[in-house]
Symmetry: C2
Subunit: 366 residues, 2 copies
């Protein structure tokens, strides 16, 4: 396999190192704005010199973000090159279009590292979806927020202090919005639900409430109740209707969920035949993510995988039937009430518009 | 795919039901000693009528045990048929021979359901082993013993009572030896280590101490120390040396391991690049296991998988460097001491020979 590598950040440079260690994966060219003295292959800052290179059969896109990744990936697919990417934002936003392009051009599109970092999550969903009916996917899909929430619980410190510490440790980016507001988890959820249920839901339809409003007082209140807070993405398929939501949830301190601390992920599925399964591991990190990217490449090299599933029935997100107990905290104090997901997230949006203090968390039910 | 199904027990009948639901998998014939009125395909009690049926491309072996499964599977491979099996005893005992036969005949041999029931464990090990160096595999690989140990811990009842209850519920077989003495976990460990490390170790070389000697008093003593007992299979690869062992281990009651109760499995790996990963789910059960068997069939139908890894470097099990703290209980009472795995298991064998009461459990270190 001759690879054109696009991007040389944390994951890109880790992938370069890993690919060098394997005889099957040869990196023919690297696209980056800077040149890197330690890189032995041809380097370029013009993506066309990778697209037009007939010797390159596979493009590994590790730039991230919507643009110019979209232009580069679509050009690669149209040029008949396989694409492996860890770019959840791109694959989530352009799900149907990218799969269709790959199919039209008879090439593979793989993105296992786009959800769960090094965990073979999307790969396992695809394997299971071929022979069982998956009815739910859920879990801790974002390491940054899990690190912050774990630290707040252990140290009883404020959100802002822990966000800074997460940034210092490299667990959070300079602009942490996508992580802390739940958008990153939301994209991983959309990808997971699409592959698991054989549907095509859209990110914009998924109610998404993050953790930026949480205070040390909230965490202390949860502790007194024997609960810990986790940012959870969950989706289910019931009677043909897809529900999906990202929100903080409260779990018993003695339970399994409470043990996932730091930047780890714990992702679970339910299926009619195999029952409940869960997968835990490093949800981010250069080498863990790069390893999953490389595993995707190896599968393409073995000639066995195209996309995870060819089914993509358009589906609207419908949370109407989903009602939970919520912890709601406003300036007036905290209270607990049963609400539909729609009502709770509408309330959150209202407080956000008014720029008034607000935090909510659903109480997990067994 | 036209399938010759061998065996119609719990997993066999579940597989028949599942395969019927999928257009890609057609069951052409069923081999069983009894005939089953509910089965629509051709039925036979002579395995040769399946081997000689040119229309059958894949044999699914769900009889279990060494013989006659060995004869049936080798005949199928020699006849150029793919084989999918959940038979850990067979694949473990005849690992090298079966892979070589499959390779010689250009067919696939898959056995994902042989370890972890419905969990895609061996499949994930193979995927990861192609691009990372796996250095350890371990966990709760046997549901029967986990059910018994969980029940003893929750109800403070004796081993024999819980074994009977497990048998009543279908979690333990009439002859529970393979489960309670750790042989079943040992076979799953050997398969896991072989695929993860690219070696070929032999079951007979793995020290194996089960749970049949545990008493309610032992469990009460662990509880007082804040510990719970689990039967753990663990193997690691260090400086080219493979260590492997099955033994009861003690974990903090507040930790993750303690939350795996009933017949569930929790299996983990460590690898250089992705770090620690774990997989949890139903480790047994007809439909969970059959679902994994069907997923293997689907992969063969997609033309993408042969065996998990082609590497099988013969390796001796070498536990010499492995030293742990052990809880040791004899007629003289209980004590805690640091011992090598070899010394501890030699002591266990000595007490067994003398037919004197003995139980031991290693204290898990993190």
């Amino acid at each position: 396999m001759k690879i054109g590598l696009m991007g040389y950040g944390t994951v890109g440079s880790a992938f370069y190192t890993l690919a060098q260690e394997h005889a099957d994966t040869q990196i023919a060219a690297l696209l980056d704005l800077k040149t890197h003295p330690e890189v032995a292959c041809r380097q370029t800052s013009d993506y066309r010199s990778i697209i037009e290179d007939q010797s390159i059969d596979t493009v590994v896109e590790l730039i991230g973000g919507l643009h110019p990744a979209y232009e580069f990936v679509t050009a690669a697919l149209k040029a008949g090159k396989h694409v492996v990417t860890a770019n959840k934002q791109l694959v989530c936003a352009c799900y149907d279009e990218l799969i269709a392009l790959a199919e039209e051009n008879g090439v593979s599109l793989r993105c296992t590292a786009a959800a769960g970092g090094g965990i073979p999550w999307l790969h396992s969903l695809a394997r299971l979806s071929r022979c069982d009916r998956i009815t739910a996917v859920s879990g801790i899909m974002n390491g940054t927020t899990n690190y912050i929430l774990s630290a707040m619980t252990e140290q009883e410190t404020e959100y802002a202090d822990n966000l800074r510490e997460a940034q210092r440790l490299g667990y959070a980016e300079a602009d942490p919005t996508a992580d802390v507001e739940g958008y990153d988890a939301c994209r991983k959820l959309v990808l997971s639900a699409n592959i698991a249920f054989g549907v095509s839901i859209r990110e914009a339809e998924v109610p998404c409430f993050g953790i930026s409003g949480i205070t040390a007082q909230d965490v202390a209140a949860f502790k007194r109740l024997g609960l810990v807070c986790k940012l959870i993405a969950h989706a289910s398929l019931r009677e043909g209707r897809v529900s999906a939501c990202v929100e903080p949830m409260l779990f018993p301190v003695s339970g399994q969920m409470a043990h996932i601390s730091g930047p780890d992920n714990l992702i679970s599925l339910k299926a009619e035949r195999v029952g409940a399964q869960s997968f835990a591991g490093a949800g981010a990190g250069g080498f863990a993510t790069a390893s999953n990217v490389l595993a995707d490449c190896m599968e393409i090299a073995r000639g066995c995988e195209t996309f995870y599933t060819s089914l993509r029935t358009p589906a609207a997100v419908d949370n109407a039937a989903l009602e939970q107990r919520y912890y709601i905290r406003t300036e007036a104090g905290a209270q607990s009430m049963r609400l539909t997901v729609n009502a709770a997230h509408a309330m959150a949006a209202e407080y956000k518009n008014k720029q008034q203090p607000f935090f909510m968390a659903a109480v997990a039910e067994e």
